[in-house]
Amino acid sequence: MKQAVCRTSEEPCQECLVGFGAEKIREDFPILWTKVHGKPLVYLDNAATTQKPQAVLDTLMRYYTEENSNVHRGVHFLSQVATQAYESGRTRVRKFLNASHDREIIFTRGTTEGINLVAQSYGRKHLRAGDEVIISAMEHHSNIVPWQMICEEKRASLKVIPMNDAGELVMDEYERLLSDRTKIVAVVQVSNVLGTVNPISDIIGLAHRRGIPVLVDGAQAIPHMPVDVRALDCDFYVFSGHKLFGPTGIGVLYGKAELLESMPPYQGGGDMISAVSFEKTVYNTLPHKFEAGTPNIAGTIGLAAAIEYVEKIGMQQIAAYESELLEYGTELLTAIPGLRLIGTAKEKAGVFSFLLDGVHAHDIGTILDLEGVAIRAGHHCAMPVMKRFGVPATARASLAFYNTRADLDALAKAIHKTIEVFA
């Protein structure tokens, strides 16, 4: 594949785009050969979860077949093999995010747990009555509810950065919200409903001027673009493995070491201690302080394999290819009479949220499914976004790098069929 030619360059060359080879890449994903209702599967629900390449499946199989053991405690051979595999998974994640130290990488169950960890640990320590937490109007419920819970407990309040009709954050309003009362800012990098790519560096820069830490919800960003936590200078970054072509039940919290050091543990149990007596417990050092209990070892190793896989393709190349697909799909969909796109930000990732005149999103979802086209219909765990746009639900097609123009053609064709049924 040609993308190997310019993997190190900043901008992908035209030759690489031509040689991206999504058709070839699709061969790595056995599930994409599935037939649904007798039709070839067109999988466009990648914002919900992504499919797994053979390399990840093989890694999981090999781990359980040849290496399975518990980590960090056994003197026996297999335990050392498993520990080595688990910890080298951490190193791979650290390099992928360009973090400084392995101990800044905490394994979680997913984005949701990462945010809960920060809200419960950092929030509980630093929030006082009258303090404020800033989030945005386009957050997933997972970046709303954990903050509401801790705010309620601490009698702090939640402030929300508004967005415009295109689904872009109003940065002037954000600046006005920042104050001495603000204790943390928690913002999504890419919206799961609108596809908006937020100006996350500016958001971080403005908060840092006041010494306020920022958590970035990277769940929808990490599969689509290169992420460098040191370049962003974010204080916390969270994402889920299953949206990055890895297994479910594994996620990552990156935190700056000095912040993580200062935070109390989130859960108590095995592995997070260095000494326990009934009188007193001494907590383990980072990252283990935040990893109570037997971790998701197979998940971690599977995630590392997924990262290795996408790194071979190149995150720059993936971003460039998907942006080309996004442009193609946007033209295709906006040409359909009665179709309205929700989320038309200038900076956008591969998400198409849409409405059809006279057809409810759930009906669109069912009819598309019968055509083999898998999309999501509903509120996408972002009810406030639905309310902001005055709609009960949207249909959402979302891209990954194994999608092709042919997938988008199939989507458009199935939408036309939906319109026919309801005509």
Partner: protein, 149 residues
């Protein structure tokens, strides 16, 4: 495609586009709200009960074709029925859309039999049964909103 036509029968599409008894019932002495958080379906069922008899029934709401047409057809089927008859019909309807029971006799369900295709679509059963659950709440005079979750 046959599955598709079976689910979205003309009667269903007709009741979706032109719902019957779609209004607030001013003379209602019972009402209940229901919602399906999965797809955002919302419905309010209004009843005017004369003793045990449903004298008038209407609904308002917004949602998918299945939930809205199921509500519309439910109102046309229940006017003049007793509470017990309504419960009986709900049971038959429920058995049909879930594919449970011995399979209701389509003749007993009348026009409601157009929803037989729903049993092939497990995720849509909630849409079809939401109006009926809401009806039951109204009949029982429950104040809490019904949710299919």
């Amino acid at each position: 495609m046959s599955d598709l036509r079976e689910l979205y029968q003309q009667v269903i599409l007709d009741h979706y586009k032109r719902p019957r008894n779609f209004q607030k019932l001013e003379c209602a002495n019972r009402h209940a709200e229901g919602h399906n958080p999965l797809c955002g379906d919302e419905i309010t069922v209004y009843l005017q009960m004369d003793g045990d008899v449903i004298k008038e029934i209407s609904f308002q709401g917004a949602g998918c074709a299945i939930s809205q047409s199921a509500a519309s057809l439910m109102t046309t089927a229940l006017k003049g029925k007793t509470k017990a008859e309504a419960e009986e019909l709900f049971k038959k309807f429920h058995d049909m859309v879930t594919g449970e029971g011995n399979g209701a006799d389509p003749m007993e369900l009348g026009k409601l039999a157009v929803f037989c295709g729903v049993s092939e679509f497990p995720v849509r059963v909630k849409c079809a049964s939401l109006p009926w659950h809401t009806l039951r709440a109204a009949l029982e005079g429950k104040d809490e909103a019904v949710s299919t979750e």
